[in-house]
């Protein structure tokens, strides 16, 4: 599987995403500068965390206009896998690839800590390695993760199983207190209607190795790997 990791001015989890795919999962990675075109032949695109354009004005507001984003939209329309993590999620929202917007955390602080999320939909290319309802421990690190959308859109997300992760207690209860940022309906991650674009606030790349004391995040990347292999094997059957 060939992964493209986007690099915006101000991205800072780009190295971490590369490390996970390249050194932990052994997959080739191409770093894609935001002013360049999206290279051909990618199996998945990662929009990493960080502070693109310093998070000035609004998180993700300026990055969405970067030249590379045109290619990302096309890639997504063709069914390519796109995952936006933290700032990447915020960029996907601003770019309209996912519905909704981010408000500041309820506490108004930047928060960095482990949180628990429940897998609400294990039938996505990003969660197939999880079991439905599985509780994952994954760290967050953001000041604007307070997800908001209008009631109609929210109902749609819920009806189409587009809510992929909800913040929860360690034993899996999605209580209001379990949400670190006040996000609507405890939303920690959503997918698009087609299912090939995921945005999530927690950072799975920060907990994908034994040495870091937690490997829960690896499930997300393993799922993506599996999904790509499935698509490829289908293609090769069709092609043969």
């Amino acid at each position: 599987m060939k992964i493209g990791v986007l690099v915006f001015p101000g991205s800072n989890c780009d190295h971490d995403c590369r490390h996970v795919f390249q050194n932990v999962l052994g997959q080739p990675v191409e770093m894609v500068w935001h002013k360049d075109a999206l290279p051909a032949g990618l199996d998945a695109v990662v929009i990493p965390g960080g502070f693109s354009y310093g998070d000035y004005l609004r998180t993700g507001a300026i990055a969405r206009f970067s030249p590379v984003m045109g290619g990302v939209k096309e890639f997504a329309q063709r069914g390519g896998l796109v995952i936006g993590i933290c700032n990447g999620f915020q960029i996907l929202l601003e770019a309209g690839l996912l519905p909704g917007a981010m408000l500041r955390n309820r506490s108004l602080h930047f928060i960095c800590k482990d949180v628990y999320v429940r897998v609400e939909n294990a039938a996505t290319p990003f969660t197939s390695a999880c079991t439905p309802g599985q509780v994952l421990k994954i760290p967050i690190a953001h000041a604007e993760g307070n997800y908001y959308t209008d009631p109609v859109t929210l109902a749609g997300l819920q009806a189409n199983a587009q809510v992929v992760f909800r913040y929860c207690t360690p034993d899996g209860k999605a209580t209001a207190d379990a949400s670190p940022n006040g996000s609507l309906d405890n939303i920690a991650g959503i997918r698009n209607a087609e299912g090939n674009v995921l945005g999530m606030m927690p950072h799975p790349e920060r907990c994908a190795e034994e040495m870091l004391g937690n490997e829960d995040g690896r499930l997300i990347f393993a799922s993506m790997l599996e999904a790509v292999q499935q698509i490829k094997s289908k293609l090769s059957i069709v092609g043969s």
Binding site: L57, A61, L103, R104, N105, L108, Y148, D150
Partner: protein, 79 residues
């Protein structure tokens, strides 16, 4: 021309920053302040003589970049 743009959260959207300021004002003894809402204020120069054109420009800037119309509303003046 100078454009003055106000971007505020839409009515009905919780404004945690406004809440925090209200709370702080209260504990500072400003008991009669209420309904604090916080927004952004931007000033910029527009190199355009034609008022109508300038207005159209600013509106486009707001729609495209300066405001996120899912959560925010904007207004502007030209002087």
């Amino acid at each position: 021309m100078k454009a003055k743009v106000h971007v505020t959260l839409k009515q009905g959207i919780l404004d945690p920053q406004g809440k925090a300021i209200e709370h702080a004002l209260d504990s500072l003894g400003f008991k009669n302040a209420a309904n604090v809402r916080v927004g952004k204020y931007m000033e910029l120069d527009i190199d355009e003589k034609d008022r109508a054109k300038a207005e159209a420009e600013v509106k486009k800037m707001c729609e495209k970049l300066l405001a996120n119309t899912i959560i925010e509303e904007y207004r502007y003046e030209l002087t």
